[in-house]
């Protein structure tokens, strides 16, 4: 794999993510792609706040970031997956995200069968060792028809 290929892949995936209306509404930005790992950023914005008394970002917004990041990790998996949809996604919130900080999700599609992709992910805000949240998810696998 050359750097040229990686840069091209990142550009295509970046266009893909910004073509999804809800991801665009949340302001999601693709950070990196490597093998079966995807990193994505959600910049801090006041309209995404879920706890009015503290200014902490809504859990639902973090879930949406994680779902998008996980789905992209499935699509970039070396096996030719042409489409995917979330079957199940569990998120554990370990601590509130720091107010004013961007959240970065890192998703790894660690196993793919004929019909199911398994993904785990963490979300971080750059503060300390403990992630903000972790995710375990399963996705559908759609493949191009064999020629």
């Amino acid at each position: 794999m050359t750097t040229m290929d990686d840069a091209r892949k990142l550009k295509i995936a970046g266009q893909f993510v910004s073509a999804l209306p809800f991801s665009r509404a949340l302001g999601l930005e693709l950070v990196s792609l490597e093998g079966n790992v995807c990193e994505m950023r959600m910049p801090y914005r006041e309209e995404l706040v879920g706890q009015p008394d503290t200014g902490v970002i809504a859990g639902g917004a973090v879930s949406a970031l994680m779902d998008t990041c996980c789905g992209t990790a499935v699509l970039i998996h070396p096996e030719a997956i042409t489409g995917t949809a979330t079957l199940d996604l569990r998120i554990d919130y370990m601590r509130p995200a720091t107010v004013g900080k961007d959240i970065i999700a890192r998703a790894e599609c660690y196993h793919v069968t004929q019909s199911v992709a398994f993904v785990r992910a963490t979300a971080h805000d750059g503060e300390g060792e403990t992630p903000v949240a972790t995710v375990a998810a399963t996705f559908t696998v759609e493949r191009r028809m064999p020629r």
Partner: protein
């Protein structure tokens, strides 16, 4: 014997309390979620907008939009039950609820089960609090679109309840 309150006064008080709760949360406004109230029962409504789409090819609602909708439904239901208790308690009856921001629970974990693709039309959700203790609550949420019995997603979550005296 004390006469019952006029129905309009009761309704106005309850609607105002619900409006205050919902309008206090920026992300609820961002999502465009509304709440319909019948007595103490709430139904969350997610009016369809193009911005909620995840897969423009189908098109289908974004999984993250569905997750957000169900989680907001659960949190507002729990907060509403706390608010209702406060509002309808014998010592507060007939008085407007205080000016403090609503006490809101924090999500510990949330699991969404995607049953079918979310269609590009309005979605509805209702949350059922299966257990609500002093510290923890367990909530189940059902989401549907055209048919109440054909759910497009459901979810279960655990929540950390706010301190009773926190204002």
């Amino acid at each position: 014997m004390k006469r019952p309150e006029p129905v309009q006064v009761v309704k106005e008080r309850r609607d105002k309390a619900l409006r205050r709760l919902v309008e206090a949360v920026p992300y609820v406004q961002f999502m465009g979620i509304k709440f319909e109230r019948h007595g103490d029962e709430l139904t969350a409504v997610l009016p369809y907008r193009e911005a909620l789409i995840g897969n423009p090819m189908l098109p289908a609602l974004h999984g993250g939009a569905t997750a957000s909708f169900l989680e907001i439904s659960a949190i507002i239901e729990l907060s509403w039950q706390l608010l209702w208790e406060e509002m309808e308690s014998p010592e507060n009856k007939g008085l407007p609820v205080g000016d403090h921001l609503p006490r809101m629970p924090k999500t510990i974990d949330f699991t969404v089960d995607y049953l079918r693709a979310g269609l590009p039309r309005d979605a509805y959700a209702r949350a059922r609090v299966n257990r609500s203790g002093r510290r923890y609550a367990s909530v189940h949420v059902e989401g549907w679109q055209d048919n109440r019995s054909r759910l497009f997603a459901q979810a279960t979550g655990h929540f950390l309840m706010p301190e009773r005296d926190a204002r």
